[in-house]
């Protein structure tokens, strides 16, 4: 609306072509706009001529368009359907189509376009153009077209295309009903139905319930007839469609099979002949729309309608198995159609079998191994191109038939079985195996053995042999996604075959990354998660290995699938080295088989291929995949929609039972005593669900309404303490309101919020929580991940080797710059690289999540973390990695998470972080250095305060430091932080922390929360509340402040 009002807005690209827009120029038939560019080559000519035309067409102003419409109208009015009208309509179409904004044509012109479209004498080309212009204008309010106006079925088809383009559901219905009415007329010399059948198909896809039931049935019956009883005589020349006729009509002969033999009684889409009759065309169309019709139209009301129909049939029950016999004409329409469809598909399978035997020659074999698309390879043109598609379609239709009527299974199964046996050895028909697998999976009970066999074949062999086919790869991944629920026992096979599946991903990463992101949560499995992580990190090397494999296996004369500009003779030779051979085979394994730590020799070997565009593309996809992997791993324990705290101050979603369960489990894992600091007390005996009792010091009292559902972080965000005059010291204040132990609220006893961690009758347990937790335990505690984390902080040979290999330079965002320019071989490796590529994009958000899964991680990996913290210094170390690592230290370096945490450890971390804070804040501001975000400073201060609250000897030191920080933040001229807001944030945080530290007991209580804050009840229940405690403290303080003198 807003655009159409301003003609000037069409001139979006007017700056490229300053010349005045000129219709005549735009419309000069032979590319007049690009006339001067003939010598520059076809491509650029085409492009520039086209672009020129588009731009010029856009520049046609309203006035000019009005004049042009008048000219078109005059031509159409006079029924002058010569070259002028053709030319004018072509231009009109271009003008309307070239811009995305609506063009307002003269109403008379629009009316005349519709009249011409429905005129019985107008040539087809003009009608097509009229329809195209009207469709391009759609949706349009000024249409007066109706199906009743069309004089012929061909024109009805055109009118329908215009009407269906309007996007109006009511219109779709009207069109459908009108068209099906015409289809019902059965006069032999009636309108050609081939123009109308596709309209019906389209209507049912747009609005499945658009067609009346009676007519749907009637059409089903006729579709069955067309499928089975199309004539087997070739069409006579004069009957070939009306536009083309030869003066000498040849004697029609019988149609033939693809192998040249005469077809006796059954016409299918594989039958060939010189000319085709109307019913043969309908046969083709009927088969083409059959599957969609069965799925959408026919069986939309399968049960009742069929039963009624059947009872009408003289009350006799028609056995489906005998339906093929003479009684079959008595079947109700839907069953009739299914019956005929089955016969048709069986016939197709038989035909394709015959052909496949004949064509099993070496040419095809070669074409298949060379090209990704077996049927379009160099040898393909001699083949009838239709057969593999038919094969696939026949199996798909059989699948639909058997799903709708299981009694068909006994007739379909043998055919499909035979087909599978035939195709499994046939590399040319790999893609046909997917529908076959789908068929077996859908009919699991009857075909379980077949399903296993075909899945085995699919997962173990196909990816290794056909990873380079982009279409197969796409179909394969889609197949896996679509049939996850059906895999059953084969799901394990799928999971262990992930190294094979990843070959598709490694080879065609741009097209498949999103598919794999969706697939990863299913593929992640307890046994293989760690190996999968390794392989994901090795994915670019896998790409290179696959490249090398192709180079080694394919003759140079064939059309190569790899980048020939990258030469790797050394690689091919080195491959013969037995040691490299072993590693190479490991990388190209088909099934999960454990990890290998030392892949460095292989990385070195593959180094020349690291600059291949394909490898770089894959490397760019790895961070996304890693993120998905970690999300899949952590998702299992974190409740849905849980957010992971990435930085101090961010809300942390705790309090979900599932998550609490994880903690309890982790604690049980690491500390056998199972008792917790701060009040969570495990009363359950071994093997029973752990149960919490309230801490003895919970206050009793009203719960401030405004704090309902607030989170712990909100509470500890010091909002309540902000501005309070905490002039009193000592923890005695706290003791006062908490004098007596409240009774345990009955809610806790009656409704255990914890899902049982052991098999029990609890619904959550039945949903498989324990074994879903197990992989997390494995991932979080098993050596490789610890290795990953540990070595991440030790400059990690494990990760670094892979990263350095895959990321010679911090990767540019996809598409920003050609990967080939990105290779700078002597780029320094190390932290910059690491934090640039891995840390910021993947690990930073995952580190706290991993700590949450396995809280003792921080204590266990203290040495590496300290080293890492030591290496973080310098003004450049801003960013999420630092924030989240420091946050995690403050949160998890506590005796409440791991009893091994010692005061000495705390003070070592304190010193390291103190130094880090000093380093960060003392750097001078400079234009070359990025600003230090205030979050880094505040999170450092908070973490230091947290540590001090746990080891109270440190309190004087941290108080001094905080005072310094406060002072520093008051003088904006110095320090690395710019901006009054940022300084204010630092100042406020320092003040808050200082106030808090004045009461060490409160500080400990607030900064090291006990575990039950994880429960929502802790924030909602009026009997248990940290916020309540704080509120009470603040009131007491205020009152006391008022009472105390001065």
């Amino acid at each position: 609306m807003r655009h159409a009002a301003r003609p000037g807005s069409w001139r979006r690209c007017g700056h490229c072509f300053a010349s005045r827009p000129c219709l005549e120029r735009a419309a000069r038939p032979q590319g007049g706009g690009g006339g001067g560019m003939l010598a520059t080559g076809t491509e650029s000519l085409l492009r520039q001529a086209s672009v020129c035309l588009i731009l010029v067409s856009r520049e046609v102003g309203a006035e000019e368009l009005g004049r042009f419409c008048a000219r078109v109208s005059a031509l159409l009015q006079a029924e002058d359907w010569g070259p002028d009208a053709l030319d004018a309509l072509r231009r009109l179409f271009l003008i309307v189509a070239a811009t995305k904004y609506s063009r307002r044509l003269e109403p008379t012109c629009v009316a005349l376009l519709q009249t011409t479209l429905c005129s019985p004498r107008c040539p087809e080309r003009l009608q097509l153009l009229c329809a195209a212009v009207l469709r391009e204008m759609a949706p349009s309010d000024s249409l007066s077209l109706s199906c009743d106006h069309a004089p012929s079925s061909r024109q009805l088809g055109l009118v329908a295309s215009v009407l269906l383009a309007q996007g109006d559901p009511q219109q779709v219905r009207t069109v459908g009903q009108c068209v099906i009415k015409v289809l019902e007329s059965r006069q032999p010399e009636g309108p050609s139905l081939t123009y109308l059948l596709p309209v019906v198909s389209k209507v049912t896809s747009l609005a499945p319930d658009a067609l009346p039931e009676e007519q749907t049935k009637a059409l089903s019956k006729r579709l069955g007839d067309w499928l089975r009883y199309a004539s087997v005589q070739q069409g006579a020349a004069h009957a070939s469609g009306g536009f083309f006729s030869t003066p000498r009509a040849r004697q029609p002969g019988p149609v033939t099979e693809v192998d040249g033999t005469v077809a006796t009684d059954f016409f299918t889409v594989l039958s060939t002949g010189q000319r085709f009759t109307e019913d043969q065309r309908l046969n083709v169309q009927a088969f083409s729309m059959l599957r969609a019709w069965l799925l959408q139209g026919g069986p939309a009301r399968p049960g009742a309608a069929d039963a009624d129909d059947r009872s009408e049939l003289e009350g006799s029950t028609v056995s489906v198995l005998s339906a093929a016999s003479a009684a079959s004409h008595l079947l109700p329409p839907a069953e009739w159609l299914r019956e005929k469809a089955l016969e048709y598909c069986q016939r197709l399978l038989e035909q394709s079998g015959r052909r496949a035997l004949r064509k099993a020659d070496s040419d095809l074999q070669k074409a298949v191994s060379a090209g990704g698309w077996p049927w379009a390879g160099p040898a393909a043109p001699s083949e009838p191109p239709v057969s593999p598609q038919c094969l696939v379609e026949a199996v798909l239709v059989l699948d639909v038939l058997c799903r709708q009527d299981p009694s068909f299974l006994y007739r379909a199964l043998p055919c499909v079985r035979a087909l599978r046996t035939r195709l499994c050895g046939d590399t040319a028909c790999v893609r046909a195996l997917l529908p076959i697998a789908q068929f077996f999976l859908h009919h699991g009970e009857a075909a379980a053995v077949d399903a296993d066999a075909v899945c085995q074949h699919l997962f173990t062999r196909i990816p290794s042999e056909h990873f380079h086919s982009p279409m197969l790869a796409f179909e394969f991944v889609q197949f896996c996604r679509d049939h996850l629920v059906l895999f059953g026992s084969n799901l394990d096979l799928l999971r262990t075959s992930f190294p094979n599946l990843f070959k598709f991903l490694a080879w065609s990463s741009p097209a498949l990354t999103s598919g794999f992101v969706a697939l990863l949560p299913v593929l992640v499995d307890a046994g293989t998660a760690v190996e999968m992580l390794h392989l994901l990190l090795d994915l670019p090397s896998l790409t290179a290995a696959l490249d090398l494999q192709l180079r080694a296996s394919q003759a140079a004369s064939e059309r190569p699938l790899w980048d020939v500009s990258v030469r790797a003779p050394g690689c091919l030779e080195a491959l013969r080295d037995p040691q490299a051979q072993g590693l190479f085979q490991h990388l190209l394994r088909a099934k999960a088989s454990g990890t290998v730590e030392r892949l460095t020799p292989l990385h070195q070997l593959l180094q020349p291929l690291a600059s291949c565009a394909r490898v770089l593309q894959c490397a760019q996809a790895v961070p996304t995949l890693l993120r998905a992997f970690f999300a899949a791993v952590t998702q299992v324990s974190l409740p849905p929609r849980a957010s992971v705290p990435a930085a101090e101050g961010q809300l942390e979603l705790r309090g979900q039972p599932q998550q609490y369960a994880v903690r309890a489990q982790s604690a049980a894992h690491s500390s056998p005593q199972g008792s917790r600091h701060g009040g969570a007390q495990r009363t359950g005996a071994s093997g029973q669900a752990p149960r919490l009792s309230l801490p003895p010091s919970s206050p009793v009292g009203p719960w401030p309404a405004s704090w309902h559902c607030c989170s712990w972080r909100e509470v500890t965000h010091f909002s309540r303490l902000r501005g309070m005059k905490l002039t009193c010291t000592g923890g005695s204040l706290l003791a006062a309101p908490w004098g007596s132990t409240p009774p345990v609220p009955s809610a806790l006893v009656t409704a255990d919020p914890l899902p049982s961690l052991t098999p029990s009758t609890h619904p959550l347990a039945l949903r498989g929580l324990p074994h879903r937790l197990f992989p997390l335990q494995r991932v979080a505690t098993s050596p490789p991940l610890q290795l990953l984390l540990g070595r991440t902080f030790q400059k990690m040979p494990f990760l670094k080797a892979r990263l350095v290999w895959a990321y010679p330079l911090a990767s540019p965002a996809r598409g920003q710059s050609p990967p080939h320019q990105a290779v700078v071989p002597d780029r320094p490796w190390g932290w910059g690289l690491l934090s640039g590529v891995l840390s910021d994009r993947v690990l930073s958000s995952q580190f706290p999540a991993l700590c949450k899964l396995h809280p003792p991680l921080v204590v266990e990996r203290a040495k590496e973390l300290l080293e890492f913290v030591g290496s973080l210094g310098g003004p450049r170390s801003t960013g999420h990695m630092l924030t989240s690592v420091v946050w995690a230290i403050g949160e998890y370096l506590s005796v409440s998470w791991d009893r091994r945490c010692s005061a000495e450890q705390i003070s070592r971390f304190f010193e390291a972080l103190e130094a880090l804070l000093f380093e960060v804040t003392q750097s001078r501001p400079s234009a070359a250095l990025p600003k230090c975000p205030p979050q880094v400073i505040t999170v450092l201060m908070t973490t230091l305060t947290k540590l001090a609250s746990r080891s109270q000897d440190l309190i004087p030191r941290v108080s001094l430091l905080l005072s310094k920080m406060r002072t520093l933040a008051q003088s904006p001229a110095v320090g690395p932080v710019h901006g009054e807001d940022d300084l204010g944030a630092v100042r406020t945080r320092a003040t808050e922390l200082l106030n808090l530290l004045k009461m060490p007991s409160v500080a400990q209580f607030v900064l090291t929360p006990s575990v039950e804050v994880s429960q929502p009840r802790y924030h909602r229940d009026c009997n248990t509340a940290l916020p309540l405690a704080l509120d009470m403290v603040s009131r007491l303080l205020e009152r006391e402040a008022g009472l105390l003198p001065g």
Binding site: L38, I54, R431
Partner: protein, 200 residues
């Protein structure tokens, strides 16, 4: 069922990097407009459709470029073909990708594309189509269009001004977006019929 067909440029010239031009597009029936309560103007719906097509074209272009780069073929390497060379259609790169629901179509869709020199052909499909059939249909359409429009021949007609020809081919070989199982003889028959109708 095919939802839309489009022809667009690939490998835009340096001067207009990132500008992918849709040369022809056609929706077979329209997706119903989203069911929010606000009434839509027809203009907005049309704009939406055009943007959807452009989004598909852009994505095809980048998929094509990534695939070409991966095979070591770069835009600069490709010399303009002489007009006598038959276009090696069976070697033309093709691919498929999935469009998530809502981006840009309401329903999830599959896109199958074919890149022939500087022109991309793409079909937007319902998910679960027979992709083998789709691929061969797309190659067939591309061949017919290249042959009959003589697109790559200097001095040949510009496809922008030959919409009737494109429409004529689509009406026969992809009527209302219905993919057809056509064997060679059948294709020849239809092609003859088309040529006859267009010759006078």
């Amino acid at each position: 069922m095919v939802h839309a067909f489009l022809i667009h440029t690939l490998r835009a010239a340096k001067a207009e990097e990132g500008l992918c031009r849709v040369l022809y597009s056609c929706f077979f029936g329209a997706e119903n407009s989203p069911n929010d309560s606000q009434p839509h103007s027809a203009e907005r719906d049309r704009l939406l459709r055009k943007e959807q097509i452009l989004a598909v074209a852009r994505q095809v272009e980048s998929m094509y470029q990534l695939q070409q780069q991966a095979c070591g073929r770069h835009a600069v390497d490709l010399q303009p073909q002489s007009s006598d060379d038959p276009v090696a259609l069976h070697e033309a790169p093709c691919g498929a990708f999935r469009l998530a629901p809502g981006d840009p179509f309401q329903e999830p869709r599959t896109v199958v594309w074919l890149g022939v020199l500087s022109i991309g052909f793409a079909l937007v499909l319902d998910t679960h189509e027979n992709l083998l059939l789709v691929e061969s249909t797309l190659r067939l359409l591309a061949r017919l269009l290249l042959d009959h429009l003589r697109l790559l021949v200097p001095g040949g007609a510009n496809l922008l001004l030959r919409a009737d020809c494109i429409e004529g081919i689509l009406t026969r070989f992809l009527p209302h977006g219905q993919l057809l199982f056509l064997n060679d003889q059948f294709v020849q028959g239809l092609e003859k019929e088309f040529s006859a109708a267009w010759s006078h």
